[in-house]
Symmetry: C2
Subunit: 505 residues, 2 copies
């Protein structure tokens, strides 16, 4: 039997090179959004596709196969250190998937989605679902093929879910989403019938962009993001990118007529960015230098954005700072008015504009439609009808156009089927984690009120961030909260908060 | 015999992938200068070294060797199209060099220079040549080894020159530089004895940075650089980077107390950038998508910076624009005063601050020292003495410190030995090209005076830029001017211009 240390060392050398190219891919993606002249998008697609090809070839190389085959033998695997076990587990997962899917199918999917994104943008502008339908048909057909290659237990949708959220499946999601519907649909009706609708018009005044950006930088510092090891830029769609322990980048977008847009985006991306800065730097240059899953990543951004950033304790501390920046605009607004205005609940058509109470129902709709499409229970041409019905049934509002309906999100056009549920998992996890934090740090809210974010940040770093990909999402959740993913922490959080705001009981 | 078309197609596929990775390397280099948090420099060095390694492995792969071996067979080569011949020629050149040098030597050089750059910066700050000396010793020793592996005719320095300027050698350079010394040293003395020293203090007033930057953008547009397919940014050391036909980037630096710094840098980099935008886009994704050599590239930047950008016709057109931007600062200055002030000649210690008359003597000094070091006629520890003597003999000024002497340039610390002469080649070529332009476009100066830069730009594009690497530097020079590189066009240009400014005869 070979020496596992020697084999692991060889594997690490391969992984080191792969990771360097993956970093390069990220920098190209950043440059594309931030620096690149828009005329150069085709050349950039070419550069990025070659880098992807190189990473793919490294992953499925015969050397990699040989090393993984050896290391995955039970008697050898048992001898490995915890970190090396995780490395082999994750790399093996990637290898198995990569080897199962024919290169031709990947290429066809890449070409199909490249074209579909262009058509989607046009279809959305023209409000013409029929234009997009044949492309979506093709994408779902290719995704079904992919699911067959990957294999699944109950539904072909399971194979896709596992891409974005390892271990997640339709059986679990069906139950979580049914719970959410059962609780949220009547609760939203109750809120709508309340006589205590907060006013939020003051948020829609004109707010100077430069001042907003200064505030965003200050906010990140306040939350404890290290701006010496990262940067904040502006972009159309805010995003976060962890390139290395000393290079974590995030973007925000300012809207002159919506004060909370930039603040909310910055706190949200700040949550992602704190996760990235919190990963143990010893994991850098390995495949474990990454968040555990999309759902866990989203839990950190949503915890910061909604539970903290739309919470009373934070604004008790920060509202004076905000008021000092926008003296004239906010002169008549009290902390209570501000907090209530920030937390208006209103069923609406567009997911990205939804408040935290209605948000998950938007996800349920997408989940149900995606799953039915994958299982061939719904036809592409029937999506608009299904969308309208579900919107009406769950949220009580009905889109008049497909642009405000099934065409609103870009995700399907680039083949991200099975991605949406991770948003809701993020919300549920955030509430479940926060419930635990309140148990372990009973005075957490007094700390936030005083502007002390260190204990929260260090708790999250110690319990979640530092692990990177060492643990699976379920393992993290189980270790930190002692339970698998549940809906009632989220429901309780929502009811406790909004019962107060809307004077319900 | 195999079909050359089939082999060329295979070669092109390999080259396509190499070029994509080379583009990625450029984007990482750009990002390093412009976006990256400074704390991330070590990780970036790692990312870049892996990409270099990938390119190197692609170049020396057995597949590449097989294809090149086939295509370089005379009977097959003769059947190739002109463009494909050039592709094989250049790729063969790179392959031959790469295969000759042991990987260990490359690695040692990379490690040595990485460290040497840090020590050089410290040595320069502390004005301590002895600190840097052992590192420089090591670099020259490795470079001598490299020269032995590469092979050369007369001097080991020839092998290094060929890296930066294919076809150039010490025999030719010795002659060119002797000519320059013979002409320039007495001419500079003559200028110094003139009673007509222009005043240039007005250039050193305080000039608003924002206005300078606006002007730089305007200037690039005026010269015909397409800002839709490129960007201008600020950086400490101005540079140009051609990534793709739709993505050519350049930087400038503003100095509040030196009006011409940003303008001069922008026109200089603009010359490089116009070259990059002028390369035939059909060459993109091949190894021919590049300037012909450093010397030819520098000829374009210097032609724009000095012959055009410090010339009378240009300022006859542009001075009113400048005066309009800086009304108060330039209110008392006439066009003649401005032009003369811009063209002050003054022997000085620092190369990058030198005027166009004294500049090449700075290069001669570096050339003579580098060559003597490579040929072991000079010891590292004797550099400061040799430097001072030569400065005194050629320019009549003597540095008091090594920081202002042999430590002033970064080049040696990163192993760029044989690079400096390309600066002078650029100056000589620029004058030789411009002499030809005046013959072929006799009214060129009237055109410039009217702000018509199109004919100049199109001439350079048609005669030089579009060719990329299709032709060698000598071939370009021969085709455009009918001669190899000469010094007298430069000398004549200098004397014609400065005789007027300094009222010499």
């Amino acid at each position: 039997m070979s020496n596992p240390e020697t084999i692991i060392k060889e594997l690490k050398n391969l992984v080191d090179e792969m990771q360097a190219v993956i970093c390069a891919e990220k920098i190209l993606a950043w440059d594309l959004e931030i620096n690149m002249p828009k005329t150069a998008s085709r050349e950039r697609a070419w550069q990025m596709s070659i880098l992807s090809k190189i990473v793919h070839e490294m992953l499925i190389s015969s050397k990699m196969q040989e090393l993984l085959n050896n290391l995955r033998k039970k008697e050898l695997f048992e001898l490995l250190k915890t970190k090396d076990k995780a490395m082999v587990r994750e790399l093996g997962r990637d290898f198995d998937k990569a080897i199962k899917i024919p290169t031709d199918l990947i290429r066809e999917l890449t070409e199909t989605t490249a074209q579909a994104q262009v058509v989607w943008a046009e279809a959305k502008t023209k409000n013409d679902f029929k234009l997009f339908a044949p492309h979506l048909e093709k994408i779902f057909s290719l995704k079904r093929q992919m699911a067959e290659y990957l294999g699944y237990k109950d539904s072909p949708y399971d194979a896709l879910l596992d891409e974005y959220e390892p271990g997640m499946n339709t059986k679990t999601l069906d139950e979580l989403f049914e719970n959410l519907k059962k609780e949220l649909i009547p609760y939203i009706k109750k809120i709508q019938c309340s006589n205590n609708m907060p006013n939020n018009t003051f948020l829609k005044q004109s707010y100077n962009k430069e001042k907003q950006l200064q505030l965003c930088n200050l906010l990140l510092e306040t939350l404890g993001f290290d701006l010496k090891k990262g940067i904040l830029e502006e972009s159309i769609h805010p995003f976060t990118m962890g390139i290395s322990p000393n290079d974590v980048r995030l973007t925000t977008r300012t809207d002159e007529n919506n004060l909370f847009f930039a603040i909310g985006s910055t706190i949200h991306e700040g949550g992602h960015a704190l996760y990235e800065q919190g990963i143990d730097s010893k994991l850098f240059k390995t495949n474990l230098y990454s968040g555990s899953s999309l759902g866990i990543h989203e839990s950190q951004s949503r915890l910061y954005e909604t539970i903290i950033g739309q919470g009373y304790p934070f604004w008790k501390y920060y509202f004076p700072v905000l008021k000092d920046t926008f003296k004239k605009e906010l002169s008549d607004i009290s902390l209570e008015e501000f907090y209530n205005g920030l937390n208006c609940v209103e069923p609406s058509l567009i997911r990205v504009e939804a408040d935290e109470v209605t948000y998950n129902l938007h996800i349920v709709i997408r989940y149900e439609i995606e799953k039915d499409l994958m299982e061939k229970k719904l036809m592409i041409n029937d999506i608009p009808k299904a969308w309208k019905e579900k919107m009406h049934n769950y949220l009580g509002v009905t889109p008049q156009t497909d642009a405000e309906g099934a065409l609103q999100d870009i995700h399907w056009s680039f083949g991200a089927i099975g991605y949406f549920p991770t948003y809701t998992m993020g919300n549920l996890c955030a509430a479940q984690f926060y419930n635990q934090i309140r148990k372990e740090i009973p005075d957490i809210e007094q700390k936030l009120e005083k502007g002390d974010f260190k204990e929260l940040r260090e708790y999250l770093k110690e319990k979640i961030h530092q692990y990177g990909l060492l643990e699976t999402p379920e393992e993290i959740l189980q270790r930190v909260t002692g339970e698998p993913l549940k809906t009632h922490y989220f429901i309780n959080y929502i009811k406790e908060k909004y019962n107060k705001i809307y004077s319900l009981n």
